[in-house]
Every structure is written in C-alpha cells, then in structure tokens.
C-alpha cells in the first residue's frame, strides 16, 4: 500500500543541502542503479554483520578455543590409602571458578593394591557418565542409571558400558598422591591414561 509512490523520496530533495552542483549529484544518482545500491549497501551490511559475529561466536565457542590442560592435583598422603582397598576421594578441580561452589569438586576412586601399585578411577560410568557406586563386599562398581557393572580393577563386567572405567594418571611425590585431573572424561576424550 505504501509502495504507490512513483519516485523515491530521495530524488525530490537531491538539489538541496550542501552539494556543490546539483547537476553533478543528479548524474551520480542516475548512474547508480537501484540494484547497485542494494548490492553495495547489502555487502556493507553483511560485512558489518560478519565483523560483529566473529568475536561473538568466538565468545560462545571460547571453551573449545582455549582448552585448559589437565593438572597434577594432590589428593592425599600415601598412608591415607590402605593396601587392598578402594576409597572414594574428593579433590578440588584445578579449573574452577570462585562461584563454582560444590561443583568445584570432583570425586575419584583410589584403589591401592600393594606398595606403590595404584589405580585411580573416574566416578563417571563409561556408558553415559553417571556416578558408579563401589561395593567393597563383592569388589564391583555398579552404575545406577543403566546398570553397567565394573570389576574392582575397572574392567567392564556387564551391562551397556563400551569399555572399562576411565583411569587417571597418577604420580607419587614426597609421600603425596597426585592425580592428573581437570576435565570431564568422555569416550573420545578420556583421562589420557598413563601408567
């Protein structure tokens, strides 16, 4: 309904204002086609949009662009872990925010066999990440979500998990137990097990 104006309003006012010669302006305007104006302004708009979008998208995908390396975390003294037992241990995440509260912590299962022979397991089931429960009586880890079961050495026993429990790399230093932690383990991004 509004498109019934035969001439664009710009042409009516083209002579006025601070233009040096109205004739020059007339020629320039006429030589620029409507399509040309659309293309140029469209391209400019798209460019502005792109320049705006790149940092914004970068902000969103920041966690991908700036991965934080796992770090060695002290989880206790060697004598805290009795031989032939598996214990649940909490530790503070190396990559935590001041407002992380209780989620700034993570738990792991520390199994001490003999001497300096350890295994440190992630609590996350290898199936879909639920927390596995440890049963020392039978030496089994059981998952409450879909019923995955693991042996005491972390090996898959039954149920849907495609593999055994994720294992943390660990190291003993001056009588302290350190584990390499810092990210949520998933199937393609495990704890990078090392012995």
């Amino acid at each position: 309904m509004n498109s019934e104006h035969p001439t664009p309003p710009c042409c009516n006012s083209s002579g006025s204002g601070g233009h040096g010669g109205s004739g020059d302006a007339e020629v320039t305007l006429a030589s620029i086609t409507r399509r040309g104006i659309l293309l140029v302004s469209g391209a400019l708009f798209a460019l502005a949009g792109l320049i705006l979008a790149i940092p914004l998208v970068g902000y969103i995908i920041g966690p991908i662009m700036r991965r934080k390396e796992d770090q060695w975390v002290d989880i206790g003294a060697l004598e805290d872990f009795p031989e032939n037992q598996t214990l649940l241990v909490d530790f503070e995440d190396p990559d935590r925010r001041p407002w992380d509260g209780m989620t700034g912590k993570t738990s792991c299962y520390v199994r001490r066999l003999q001497g300096e022979n350890f295994q440190v397991f992630s609590i996350n089931c290898a199936h879909l990440g639920c927390p596995v429960h440890w049963f020392p009586e039978s030496g089994l880890f059981m998952c409450p979500c879909h019923g995955g079961v693991y042996y005491e050495d972390g090996g898959r026993a039954s149920g849907p998990p495609p593999r055994g429990l994720y294992e943390y790399a660990f190291r003993l230093e001056k009588g302290r137990m350190l584990v390499r932690a810092g990210h949520l383990p998933t199937l393609q991004d495990t704890m990078k097990e090392t012995s």
Binding site: R67, M102, G139, A157
Partner: protein, 502 residues
C-alpha cells in the same frame, strides 16, 4: 458521560494504532462448521505459555544461576519466600501441562490431516516449537541444580562426546569449560531464560500468523480428499458455510484454557512440587539420577538397546525423528484427511503412543538398575533360611553380602536386573549354578575372582535349596559316568562347554 470518556480514550488510541479492523477481523473471521472441541489444544498451549512466562519472570527475581547458590535459592523459594512454593509449583505443573497439550495438539493435527496442503509450513514451524519446548524442559531440569540435574548434564555431555570427530569440542561447548561448573549452569540459564523464549515467541508468532492466514482446517470426512487444484475453492465454500470465530469457537478455546489453568492451579496448590533432597554435588556419590518424564523413553531406550545400536540411538535417532516429523506434510501433503482412510498413519500414531508409554513406564521403573541398598536392606525371607545346613547358611550369607540381592530378587524383593531366584534350583543344576556364578554371562559379572571356591560351593549349596516344596530341583539330563565333571576342574569344564557350543 462516563461511557463517552471511555469511548473517547479508545478512539484516541484507535486513531493512532488503527487496529480496530484487525481485531474485529480476527474475532469475526469465519471458521468451518462442526470444529467441535478438538481444536482447543493449541490455544491451551499458548495460555499455559503465558503462565510460564509470568511465573518464570517471578522465579528469576529470587533464583541465582550460580552453582554455589542455585540450589539454595530454590530451597529459599520453596520454603521461605512468601508463596514461593506456589509460584514454583505452578511453573512446574504448567510446563508439564504445556508438554501434554502440545503432544495432544500435534496428535490431533496429524490424525485430522490438518497439516496437509496448504498448511505444511504451519506444521513445520510447529515441529520447531516442539523441539524448543523439549529444550525448555531439559534446561529447566538443569536449573533446579539437584543431583539429577548434575548427572543429567553429565549424560548430555557423554552423549555429545560420542559424535565422531567433533565430540570432545561439543562437550566443551556444552559445559562451557572442562568440567560441569559455573559456566555450565549459566549457559543453560541463558538458554532457558533468554534464547529459548525468544526463539519460541518468534516461531509462535509465525505459527499463529500462518494459522490466521490459512485458517483452521475443516474436520475431515472420509473420501473428502485434499487436492491442490481444488482445495482453495472447497475451503472457501466451507468458510462460507461456516461460522464466525467469535463467539462459539472462541468460547470453546477460552473455556478449555480456563479449565486447564484451573487444573494446573489446583494441582500446584494441592501437590506442590517436590525438591530433590540431593543438591548438584558431585561428591555425593549415592545419587540415583533420573530424567524428567518427557525424556524417560530415551532413558529406557539407552538401557535396552544393544551396544551396536547405541550411537545410532543417541546421535541419529533424534535428528532422524525430527526430519521425519518435518517431512510428513511433504510426503503426504494431499489426499485423504480422515484418520479412517489413512490406516498406516493412524496405526503409526497408536503404535508410537503405546511405544512411548511402555518405554516411559520402563524408564520410570528402570528394572535394569541395580537396587543399590537391597544387599543390606532386604534380608532373605525367613522361610528360606529356617531349615538350612551350616554350609547352606554360609551360602545365604555370601548371597546377601556379595550384593547378589542388588540384581536378584527373592520372593519379589530385591533388584530386578537379573532373574528372581526364588525357584532357581528348578531351572539350573548345581553344575550350571557354579558355572553361572563363576563365569557370569547374560548381564551378570563373573564372580570367579570375587569369591573363594569355598564361598562358591556354599553359595551354590544355598541356591540349590531354592525350589518349591514338592518340585524336585533340576537334574542334568545325563549323569556323568565317573566323577563330577564340573566339580573342581574348571578348565576341563570350559573345554567341554566350548566343544558343545561349537
């Protein structure tokens, strides 16, 4: 005098807004006859959406989306904030009711063939609205920030982590960092409170514009086929014979919406909404995470499907399901509308609904989950132990202490992951029991390393007593000639098994 003042004010606005014609047109636009009460689910969904927006805004006035405070603020809303429990309950009940209304709306539209020409785009936009609603329900569950929220994010991350190549990147995108923490919650908060409402309202605007532009479809009649060439004329005639939207069809929408809202208010006032007593603390290990009801069928499917199907179920099925929904009007955009003349579609709906209900029920019951406390909390029925020999009694203790009850019930009490063993001796011989205990199989772990041979012997002696009086225990079909084949020499036994299997 007073009336003149009101009219004057209205006219003042009308002179500037110029909306009277549109409003009158919307109220008077003709709709086909006999639409009945079947067309009310869509408007009820929109009504509930307004309640969601309202109560949502109220909740944000107290809720703090940081991990150290989120759960606390929900506790505060539930127990201390004046009428906070009620607002939260309404938000919860209304959100769930909205899901129900949307499912009913989609089913009705599908069965009535109302998605066909020329309303294909309305259906497609509606499919997006459905996905946004699922997003709302999942992110809403996360914002509660209890143990199910925390592990729900973990499950989401584990699923995302399975995507080939970009899996780990997706996990980091989802978590907003290396672990579940502050930025994770903030991401879901931004999604739930800003992104999804904007998307939902935008798409809803298009959906409603399309509904106004294309009009609501007439109720289907068998043999009254939809043809692109003729439909517009036919619909014009249906409208000519129809009735204005106001008052009758409008009244039905309003009455139904009002009833649903009242039901939501009563449910919220009477039942409130529970608070998971475990906060999102990853160090509380005895959590038993469960998704909200719309996700229970998927939860069940992920436990029941064989491992080789799993990645398909996680990554392909949701996308394929959405593509299927979107493709419906393009595959069957014309032809019969009546559900009685579309047997495949109608049976498909029935099968789909039954499937979802069964899977949802299984997800709620989760028979595959071990009963984590059964080994200590569910003792063996007295009648099963009152006349046992010492060895058998030791076996009963082993059975209890080695967490067997977590998966095996006796007299219906205990886990349901494995079979109920009340009468196991009638099904398995002693030798087979030994083999099952030691080697596991089916969904049972091998207990060979977890039990001493004396314990196995005692356990099997106990299990062999589990047969009803008067029914003999199972016997091998052929007794070994000399010496027990499955007594102590397991290696030999294994070879026999292998030979038999081949």
């Amino acid at each position: 005098m007073k009336r003149g003042w009101v009219l004057q004010t209205l006219n003042w606005f009308e002179h500037r807004l110029g909306m009277r014609d549109q409003v009158l047109e919307a109220l008077n636009h003709p709709v086909p006859k006999n639409t009945g009460w079947w067309y009310v689910f869509g408007s009820a969904s929109v009504t509930l959406l307004t309640i969601q927006l309202l109560t949502g805004v109220l909740l944000t006035m107290v809720y703090v989306p940081t991990p150290d405070l989120a759960y606390q603020t929900i506790e505060y809303i539930s127990y201390e904030q004046f009428l906070g429990w009620y607002v939260r309950a309404v938000h919860s009940w209304s959100g769930n009711a909205m899901m129900v209304m949307v499912l009913l709306h989609m089913t009705q539209v599908y069965l009535w063939g109302a998605y066909k020409y020329p309303r294909e785009l309305t259906w497609v936009v509606g499919c997006f609205l459905f996905v946004f609603l699922l997003g709302f329900l999942f992110s809403g569950q996360v914002l509660r920030f209890d143990s199910s929220s925390y592990w729900g994010i973990g499950v989401g991350a584990a699923m995302a982590g399975r995507v080939p190549l970009i899996g780990p990147a997706l996990v980091h995108l989802l978590l907003g960092g290396e672990t579940i923490g502050g930025e994770t919650l903030s991401r879901f908060y931004a999604l739930h409170v800003f992104v999804l409402p904007a998307l939902l309202l935008g798409f809803l605007g298009i959906h409603l514009l399309l509904v106004m532009r294309q009009g609501v479809s007439a109720p289907p009649f068998p043999a009254k086929r939809t043809d692109k060439e003729t439909y517009d004329k036919v619909y014009e005639r249906e409208l000519a014979e129809g009735e204005p939207f106001a008052p009758d069809p409008l009244a039905k929408d309003v009455i139904f919406s009002a009833l649903i809202v009242l039901v939501v208010f009563v449910l919220a006032a009477v039942y409130g909404v529970g608070l998971n007593e475990l906060p999102a603390d990853p160090t509380i290990i005895n959590a038993n995470p469960r998704p909200d009801w719309p996700f229970l069928p998927l939860f069940a499917l992920l436990s029941l499907c064989p491992p080789w199907m799993e990645t398909f179920v996680i990554l392909v099925l949701p996308v394929a399901g959405f593509a299927f929904l979107v493709s419906i009007p393009f595959v069957s955009g014309t032809g019969e509308r009546s559900p009685w003349r579309r047997p495949v579609g109608t049976i498909g709906v029935v099968v789909g609904v039954v499937l979802m209900i069964v899977l949802g029920w299984l997800g709620a019951v989760a028979p595959w989950s071990p009963a984590m406390e059964a080994w200590s909390g569910t003792p063996i029925p007295e009648r099963m132990v009152e006349s046992l020999s010492p060895t058998q009694l030791v076996g009963a203790v082993v059975f209890q202490n080695k967490n067997c009850r977590n998966c095996h019930a006796l007299d219906g009490q205990g886990g349901t992951r494995g079979p109920d063993l009340t009468t196991v001796a009638t099904r398995l011989t002693k030798e087979e029991l030994v083999r099952q205990v030691v080697q596991g199989g089916g969904n049972m772990p091998a207990y060979g390393k977890q039990l001493s041979s004396a314990n196995v012997e005692a356990l099997v002696a106990f299990l062999a007593t589990l047969h009803p009086e008067g029914i003999a225990p199972a016997k091998p079909s052929v007794e070994p000639i000399t010496g027990p084949l499955a007594g102590g020499d397991n290696a030999k036994d294994d070879k026999t098994e292998v030979a038999r299997d081949q």
